[in-house]
């Protein structure tokens, strides 16, 4: 018996190694992309370009991080883009009509709005027992429709936004854009929360095995609600940053981001089946997408190929993730019908 257990112990070591690979996998992919683009173009591997890629990825990284939190609980949020748009438009409109507003107050507006919207999603899913896809599909239309009605055919242009706001986002501290620092900071904080705090671990637990959470007595409703609230909050922040970054805030802001955030999370190794993956991975997934975008423009590849390649990258990422999962598999994976 002990011999067998020894052998199993060795395989555990491997398991742990492979598990760490989940993020390393994305990193390796990123590195391959980077090397390929560096060899193919002279412009890719420059400080300026890398900074540009990082800034492009920053907001998507936050949105992907938001999506990932919900995915971890074995749910899904397709209202991400609408929440971003909602928070962005209202905040921008408010800032435009109240030019004297203090920065501190302003930052809390999108967070508050996101929190409210996320709470509505969470209540529907956790307490209304509505399937996540359906509930958020509904609120996606609802939130977006409400922005349209509120905006009444207007948009908030950059000239109406406070100057300090635009200046703040454009600023760089020792060459690193503030936007990138903010994104990294947010992702790291969320990641620490998920990895090192009991509540964060319970978010994983609920998604890992809902039946077990029930038997264990976890208040999974509360935890799922919390995940949606966090998601909403992060979307509020992401939407706000998006608005300030682009300068012009329209009613369609961030539409389609439900899919981009999902794509980034999936490429980053977050499992849509819940319980597995990290927000760092999701953020890296956003960087992968931004790198592909950037590299293909540098290579002057047609837009169409970009769509195709991104799609293929998602499938490849999912396949790789499944391979890893089955290699750590054991009892939970081996019995899938073939």
């Amino acid at each position: 018996m002990s011999g067998a257990i020894g052998a199993v112990g060795a395989s555990r070591q491997f398991t742990k190694f492979v598990l760490r690979m989940r993020e390393t996998g994305v990193l390796v992919f990123l590195a391959i992309l980077g090397i390929a683009f560096s060899l193919l173009t002279s412009t890719f591997f420059t400080v300026q370009n890398i900074t540009a890629v990082a800034s492009s990825a920053a907001i998507l990284a936050i949105a992907a991080c938001a999506q990932a939190i919900v995915l971890l609980t074995r749910n899904l949020d397709v209202s991400v883009g609408s929440m971003m748009g909602f928070a962005a438009y209202l905040t921008a409109d408010f800032a435009a009509t109240h030019p004297g507003i203090s920065p501190i107050v302003l930052v809390f507006i999108p967070m508050g709005i996101g929190l409210v919207l996320g709470t509505i999603n969470g209540l529907l899913v956790a307490y209304g027992k509505v399937q996540a896809l359906i509930a958020t599909l509904g609120t996606m239309s609802l939130y977006r429709g409400l922005i349209y009605i509120y905006a009444h055919g207007q948009e908030v242009t950059s000239s109406r936004l406070p100057h300090w706001l635009l200046g703040f986002i454009d600023a760089r501290i020792s060459g690193i854009p503030v936007l990138v620092m903010l994104a990294v900071g947010i992702v790291v904080v969320v990641s620490l929360f998920l990895q090192y705090f009991p509540l964060g671990r319970r978010i994983y637990a609920v998604g890992s095995n809902p039946v077990a959470s029930f038997f264990f007595g976890l208040r999974s409703e509360r935890i799922v609600l919390l995940a949606y609230m966090l998601c909403g909050l992060l979307c509020g922040v992401a939407g706000f940053l998006y608005a300030v970054r682009v300068g012009t805030v329209t009613v369609v802001l961030a539409s389609g981001w439900e899919m981009s955030s999902l794509a980034a999370a999936v490429i980053g190794g977050v499992s849509v089946a819940g319980g597995s993956g990290t927000v760092i991975g999701a953020a890296l997934g956003a960087v992968v997408l931004a790198t592909i975008d950037n590299g293909l423009v540098l290579l002057n590849v047609s837009e169409f190929w970009r769509m195709f390649i991104q799609g293929a990258a998602i499938v490849a990422a999912v396949a790789a993730d499944a391979m890893i999962a089955s290699s750590i598999g054991g009892a939970f994976y081996a019995r899938r019908p073939r």
Binding site: A52, Y148, S158, L166, T250, V252, L298, N300, E303, F304
Partner: protein, 310 residues
Amino acid sequence: EAKDSGFKIMMTPKWTGFPYFELTGEGAKAAAKELGDELIYAGADHAEASLQVETLQNFVTQKPDGIILSAIDLNAVAPVLKNARKKGIAVATYDADAAVPARDMFVNQLSYEQAARVMLDCALIDVPEGGEIAFIAASPTSPNHMAHIKIMTNLTQTEDKYKVFKVVDTQFANDDDAKSYDVAVNLMQAHPNLKVIISSSAVSAPAAARAIEASGHVGKVYATGFALPSAIKRYLENGSEKAFAFWDPWELGYVTAYALHEKMAGKFQPTEGAVLTVEKVGTFKTAKDGEVVYGKPLIFTKDTVEKYKF
């Protein structure tokens, strides 16, 4: 045919909720009001060809006298419009045309060539010495953007005035601001000597201007093309950009509704060479295929931008 006013006109833009289209709608409504017509403005909230066809079908059911639209997919709307014309409904397109047999007239804000020239002129104001230019279009399937790009490319090769420019790239941003922003950044990375980014999308041009400002390329790269003055005021005022172009969307809508009214009242036939007189605005010639050229480009600079309230 004795009718002279009291027509029912229905109008749909590519999508509602976008200030540009809302302005054309208001212009059209003003014209209708002055002429004693009724104008209904409606449409889906995102640009999807099948939704636009549905809207048009719903229009036809309501038996209006005339329909005004800006087509998302010139061919997709053709069957329903042909059907409408069969029922005696007059059809006018503006901003983006539908297939020729599907409509009576197209009120073109600027002819493709005119548009191309205006944008290049703006680029010349930005960098008189010329250099590399790149384009951002909505998508390869948007006919006007692609035509502008083709003509601009041609002009830079054939006309001395524009020979200072060298076209290096074309990218697509789907009329999406974030995408436009990123594409602009990527273009600047891909072409270190890039001088001007030109876009005929009113979404992309301001986003590109913002990208230039934010990425610290002010003074090195310029964005120009078509944009609403409200969206680019900031950049003109703070000196990071020098010139953009557009036309008066309100007036475009006004002229379109006016032209359609005249057509329905039997006072104007959009045949080649026919002249349309719009009170207070001016006279417009008809080109071939019923194309009424509105053709009043506006160039906004630091000094003129304040004048425009849209």
